[in-house]
Symmetry: C2
Amino acid sequence: MLEQLTILAPGLLGASVARAARARGLARRIVLWSRRPETRLQLRAQDFCDAVVDTPEEAVREASLVVLAPPVDKIASLAQQIAPALPAGALVTDVGSVKGDIARLGHAALRADTHFVPAHPMAGSDKNGWEHSTATLFENRVCFITPLPESNAGAVEAVAAFWQDLGMQVVSTSPDTHDEIVAHISHLPQILASTLCQFLDTKDHAWRNYAGGGLRDTTRIAGSDPVIWRAIIEHNRDEILRALHQYQDELQAFASALANRDYLEIQARLERARSYRGGLRVP
Amino acid sequence: MLEQLTILAPGLLGASVARAARARGLARRIVLWSRRPETRLQLRAQDFCDAVVDTPEEAVREASLVVLAPPVDKIASLAQQIAPALPAGALVTDVGSVKGDIARLGHAALRADTHFVPAHPMAGSDKNGWEHSTATLFENRVCFITPLPESNAGAVEAVAAFWQDLGMQVVSTSPDTHDEIVAHISHLPQILASTLCQFLDTKDHAWRNYAGGGLRDTTRIAGSDPVIWRAIIEHNRDEILRALHQYQDELQAFASALANRDYLEIQARLERARSYRGGLRVP
């Protein structure tokens, strides 16, 4: 059991970490810090934390493990800010959706007697904010950890154990491989769904009243927070551009087959898609 | 109440019509015909029908209303086949996802004393086959009817009332407008989801084990039957090509904004998408 778990800037993911850690008895004491005073006030009324303090430094002073949970563009600077205040031996992890820069900057920011082990729990929702957090958000989902070659092995093991204790299946990979993977399985789907909605927005709005479950499911993630996603897309620009261009080539190949009335090719593509879809772990 | 409701080639939609009509007491007698002898045998054991006969002609001989429920490429020929056997005054409707050709060919196929009123209930699933049918599939969903200017007004009204009695909200539009609408809100999403899965199929298959709810929802419809969808795409080729090319332009505009690091433009597109998504009738 951790002596003190500190979660900085809890939104959906951070507050779900607090709830799950509380429910599973993973920490003796859970301390939060949130940037906005109103949010701190609201969080103080929640039973999934023991204290809500006014500064990040105060929150980490006695922390065994710190979870950095702000939007992806604020993680590295928050690591820099808390570095001097961390106690010796403290572990730091995060929940950022992009890992390359964060892994390198986070590692560089900390003192040698404290350890940053970047993480990305593959759980979430189109609903953001700590109000939507649940104790079960992470159950049976994958959590990437992306240590650097120079990361402390004991720290990596301890952070992996923490995410595992939250109910997750931990997958360890390099930060850059992580970013390539999520560009394909998370960021590209987001862009396709958002572009579909943005395209339909240029058409007769009555049409959306006619849609069935297909459009609803295909576009669910287009309801996600634009500010959070803008930061994710900005941080993973290069990998996303590569994945997007390749997807555009496949879409053009489909369009060409249709223009050429090559229905055998179209059916073959639909069949490969169905077979791939049938193998998704989350059905 | 209908004296006899006949459903030809029931799959998911056709059998759901039978179940819903039975549950709501819309027909005194429900008669089915299915092409495959094994399916006829299985259907005979179901309590949502009163008889399962061996030919389409036999099935329609005393029908008040006939629902044509085969895949979209078989509807017009089935209308031609049953035309001579229909009793005077019989109404015929269908469940096809594309309406232009079907509306014209179906109307032309029938005798002047019988009436074809094409329909497209916007309900379905990635699970096909009568085994997945339910009595509630149509509730609160939209059903297009696409009469021609020369359609009999009383027949149009009676068929609209039938779909309404199944729990649907009926929208009347021209066949060509229908085909433009569904190219955008149904066929394009299908192609984007299938192309995403087919693209990911070219990558490391382990990646799909890491996906969260986003990829799962975005690609659910990629699990749909490739043969059925090939026929739909073939029948709505021109409208789909138009919608697809416009979507490709929007996707390219997104990619260009990202290549140019124009993150304000990217955020603006995400915001328009979210706002559109928030207005979907089916949340």
